[in-house]
């Protein structure tokens, strides 16, 4: 690739073509970007702002992708893949609702009914998937000290943009542990620290969380790295497995009759009406009722729906098996995943090799 660019620029100088114009966004609006990768503390704010930044850059990725920018990379592609992920489900619901008018008024309701089922199914799928992820991430963080969502700012060098070879870096939001093959170990060291303990502080903390007796070793980093690698793989695998069941759970729950009948039915219209008609003092009181309404219109239907999914249709063996399989599989992959991950990343029984010992 590099040779192509070079050839182009050599050629440029010879034929005296007007220097490449890189568009206004490249010259005038260039903001200085950090040239070094930087880990961010895994706080809620940092994670959210990191996600928001990625979303903000998405149109840019699409724009450059559509033009075939040689600097478009796999990371950008992966961000773009989220577009169909979030459009496809609602798209299907839209197709059902578009067919709504195919029926008379009563059947219209049926189409709406099915549309509601699919819409709830989609939403619940997204919810169940992220729930599954949280259910793996949180225990891993709590018990092993590894926050799998630790963000870092990746400063990526792009190919040369000018004849002088100026290649502006671009910024991507990554996660330190997103890759098992190339986890960013370097970012976890405290580079400015003086003592080995301080440099290794993060690794020591993780080793401690993994129940290793950290005082026996002075290279906790090398001890925990392979364990973290295995942890990344396991957690991703269990998340994927759980999300497979989450598909079943989401659409299965959403399409239970009780869910379509009761979930949020008339909740907002009633609420708005009631609120408008009430004097302020009572309004405050009725806010207390919100909890009751949520219980009635959200939690109870979900609960009933779970029971219905579990029981399945008496007449259909398949539904009984599939419903139970979805629930057992979902919970099983979360619980089993946690047990398996925490068990295999427990270093309390491993005899840590002390550095001197290892050298000898």
């Amino acid at each position: 690739m590099v040779s192509v660019v070079k050839t182009s620029f050599e050629n440029l100088s010879k034929v005296n073509v007007k220097p490449l114009s890189f568009g206004s966004d490249n010259n005038s609006d260039v903001k200085p970007v950090p040239t070094e990768d930087m880990m961010l503390e895994p706080t809620f704010t940092n994670k959210v702002s990191s996600d928001l930044k990625t979303i903000k850059r998405l149109p840019g990725y699409v724009k450059r992708g559509m033009q075939g920018d040689p600097d478009a990379n796999f990371y950008e592609f992966m961000q773009i893949t989220k577009i169909p992920y979030y459009i496809g489900g609602p798209g299907l619901v839209a197709m059902i609702l578009a067919g709504k008018n195919m029926f008379d008024i009563r059947a219209n309701k049926a189409a709406e009914f099915n549309g509601k089922g699919m819409a709830l199914g989609c939403a619940l799928y997204y919810v169940a998937t992220s729930l599954a992820q949280k259910c793996i991430d949180i225990p891993v963080k709590a018990f092993r000290g590894v926050d799998l969502n630790t963000p870092y700012v990746d400063s990526v060098a792009t190919s040369a943009k000018t004849p002088d070879g100026i290649s502006p870096n671009k910024i991507e939001q990554h996660k330190v542990f997103e890759s098992a093959d190339f986890a960013r170990w370097d970012l976890l060291y405290n580079k400015d620290a003086k003592t080995p303990e301080d440099i290794n502080a993060r690794y020591n903390k993780i080793a401690h969380s993994m129940n290793a007796s950290t005082d026996k070793t002075n290279d906790a980093d090398n001890e925990v790295k392979p364990v973290i690698v295995s942890l990344i793989k396991q957690s991703r695998a269990w998340k994927y497995i759980a999300s497979g069941f989450a598909v079943m759970i989401g659409v299965g729950l959403g399409n239970q009759k009780v869910m379509k009948d009761e979930f949020c039915t008339g909740m907002f219209s009633n609420f708005r009406q009631k609120m408008a008609n009430l004097p302020k003092s009572i309004r405050n009181a009725s806010i207390k009722n919100i909890a009751g309404t949520v219980n009635m219109k959200v939690l109870k239907p979900v609960g009933k729906s779970i029971v219905a999914l579990w029981k399945g249709n008496e007449a259909s063996m398949m539904s009984k098996v599939a419903g139970k399989m979805a629930i057992i599989g979902f919970l099983g992959s979360i619980i089993g995943g946690n047990i398996s991950i925490l068990k295999s990343t427990d270093l309390s029984k491993n005899k840590l090799v002390e550095k001197e010992e290892a050298d000898a």
Partner: protein, 654 residues
């Protein structure tokens, strides 16, 4: 599979600064070239591999690639699970099948869209496949252009790159031509994957619903055939099929051909109208009672009655016809009753069903008979007020809250008993229909009248099956409604009004919205048994519906202004329908809706269905159009991809 690695020849390479000949590991990567069968094979193999990857990964083994692959597997397994869950609530086997078909069309659309609407046109334009896959030295299969920062170009044949360069219009006399070609390929690949992701979210649901629409249209018959075969086997009816050849011949071919030949002789000189009348008479004489809708509790069983009525020869005027004749009409021998015993056994088996249902429900067969007989009498339309009485009676019997759980459980058990029996019944119908068609083939040559008689027979056979089903399902449907309503609903005057109206409609066997929905299908010619059953419209309506469809097709202007032309439509319909129109009118009357309204609704629905198809089709076409336009622009120079070449020979610059 063809291996096109340019590396494969480099067996021995000298190590740097060493005299030793070191043999580095030979890269075993290659581009994948597969035909369809190989593709399917490796897809299946891929899932097996993914399952292994999953096992590895939960043990902390593997790498980013193998862990990522698990997602493909789990999503699809989840998809099958969804179909299984959704199909459970579907009532008919076709609907059950459609849940899986829906799943298949969704995932099908997901992979077909990028293949046929992006990669294929691009390949035609550029000569290379943007979805080209390769297998790396570790056996990992990936899209070649997946990571545009890592493209293992060594796997490509140089000649191939040259050819692609020609097709892409890369000048021939430039330095590093292959590099320019590769850069252009990379640009196009990046553009195509972006386009794929931008369009997939819209294309997949659109394509899936269009595909689903057509699958449901065409799969019904195919599926039915397969199901019938399986059911016959499962129900132990295989012998019946075998025996049917001789048994059926006796039951159908000969009496029928006898009738045909007899009446063609007799009515030759008379007017066609009289001919038909005579034929109807003869037909009724032979099949009459057996084929007419039977509303008595233990008589709704096709084979039982068919054989019984015929063989008991209760009709004197038929007696002489029950003889075996060859196709030329010569009497071979008389048929004896015992020849059809085998058939009767099956009839008796079905006869048991109401008894079983009564048993499940915990009422005596007598009581059950009484309830159901009443309901079916009402269904017959003789005395609508009885529906009211019956509704009360049923509520009293089963509506109490203390009975609810019992009835609920009974319903599920009843469903279990009915499902296989309906399958058997339908399978038998299938066998009979096949026979009738055979007969039709054989007697077609005789006259139009024979065609008429066979068609009528086939219609009546269908009616009979429908009525049998309806007599079985009536209690299930009615109880279903009762159970769904609480005691409060039943006691609340206002609620009870609508509840009873609903019940009444179900007792009648049809609800207005079912007529709305299904009449549309009847008009479109998709009159499956279920539709006809719910409609109370039988197969004899088929030609009527065909004609109505034709009429509506011709009157496309009317479809746009249905409300303004309701009367016109109804008159047209009535013109075609004749006496059947009256029957239809009486159904409408009882259900409290004018036939005009039914017709206009049906017409509207036809219009709206076509409208939906049009919108979905047009949206898809528009999306395809946009995609193709975008593709046509791919590979053009832009600010990121400048076409600046260094020519080897200045004079040939153009």
């Amino acid at each position: 599979m063809k291996i096109t690695s340019s590396y494969s020849e480099n067996k021995n390479i000298k190590a740097f600064g060493s005299n030793q000949t070191v043999a580095p590991e030979t890269p075993r990567g290659y581009l994948v070239h597969e035909n369809f069968v190989q593709g399917v094979k490796s897809t299946v193999g891929g899932y097996v591999k993914n399952a292994k990857y999953a096992v590895d990964a939960v043990n902390g083994k593997g790498n980013d690639y193998s862990v990522g692959k698990i997602n493909d597997l789990t999503l699809r397994v989840g998809g099958v699970g969804i179909a299984a869950i959704l199909s459970a609530s579907a009532k008919t086997p076709i609907a059950k099948f459609m849940e899986f078909a829906g799943f298949a069309s969704f995932f099908g659309a997901m992979s077909l869209w990028p293949k046929f609407f992006i990669a294929a046109p691009l390949k035609a334009k550029t000569g290379f496949d943007v979805n080209q896959e390769y297998v790396d030295s570790y056996g990992r299969r990936k899209r070649f252009f997946e990571d545009s920062q890592y493209l293992p170009w060594d796997l490509w044949d140089k000649k191939e790159i040259g050819k692609i360069g020609d097709k892409l219009g890369i000048p021939k006399n430039i330095e590093n031509r292959d590099d320019h070609t590769k850069a252009k390929m990379k640009q196009i690949a990046t553009q195509s994957t972006t386009l794929w992701m931008m369009t997939a979210g819209f294309a997949t649901p659109l394509m899936a619903s269009l595909m689903g629409n057509y699958i449901s249209k065409y799969s019904e018959e195919v599926l039915k055939d397969a199901r019938v075969k399986a059911n016959l086997k499962k129900a132990g009816l295989e012998d019946f099929t075998k025996a049917s050849d001789s048994v059926m011949k006796k039951i159908f071919i000969n009496p029928l051909s006898s009738v045909v030949s007899l009446f063609t002789k007799e009515v030759d000189a008379k007017s066609p109208a009289e001919e038909l009348k005579a034929l109807d008479k003869a037909y009724d004489a032979v099949f009459g009672k057996a084929c007419d809708p039977v509303f008595e509790y233990n008589q709704g069983y096709l084979l039982y009655n068919m054989s019984d009525d015929m063989m008991k020869t209760q009709y004197d005027d038929v007696k002489g016809l029950i003889v075996e004749k060859d196709l030329n009409g010569n009497v071979v021998k008389k048929i004896k009753t015992k020849n059809i015993d085998g058939v009767s056994i099956i009839g008796n088996k079905w006869k048991e069903i109401p008894n079983k249902l009564a048993d499940i429900l915990g009422v005596t067969p007598k009581k059950y008979k009484q309830l159901m007989k009443n309901s079916l009498t009402v269904k017959n339309g003789t005395n609508p007020d009885e529906a009211e009485l019956l509704a009360d009676m049923l509520i009293k019997e089963f509506g109490g809250s203390e009975n609810k759980d019992k009835v609920q459980k009974a319903l599920q058990k009843m469903e279990k008993v009915l499902m296989p029996s309906v399958d058997e019944l339908e399978s038998a119908q299938h066998v009979f229909e096949k026979k009738i068609n055979e007969v039709k083939g054989k007697v077609d040559a005789n006259s139009d009248l024979s065609k008429y008689i066979v068609t009528r027979h086939s219609e009546r056979l269908a009616d009979k099956v429908i009525n049998t089903k309806s007599s079985w399902y009536a209690p299930v449907r009615i109880l279903d409604i009762i159970v769904k309503h609480s005691a409060d609903d039943i006691n609340d005057v206002e609620k009870a009004k609508s509840f009873k109206a609903e019940l009444r409609q179900f007792i009648y066997g049809v609800t207005p919205h079912q007529i709305h929905n299904n009449f549309d299908d009847v008009i479109k010619g998709n009159y499956s048994d279920d539709y006809r059953y719910t409609l109370g419209i039988n197969k004899s309506f088929a030609p009527l519906c065909e004609k109505t469809k034709e009429m509506l097709g011709k009157e496309s202007k009317l479809v746009k202004n249905v409300d303004g032309n309701t009367n016109f439509l109804w008159n047209k319909f009535y013109e075609i329908a004749g006496e059947k129109g009256k029957h239809f009118e009486s159904i409408c009357d009882w259900l409290g809706k004018t036939p005009q309204a039914f017709i206009s609704d049906a017409t509207k629905q036809t219009g709206i269905y076509h409208g939906w198809l049009k919108v979905a089709g047009l949206s898809f076409a528009a999306l395809t159009g946009i995609t193709l336009v975008a593709i046509s622009q791919f590979g053009k120079s832009n600010k990121y991809n400048q076409e600046v070449y260094k020519y080897t020979n200045e004079s040939t610059r153009s």
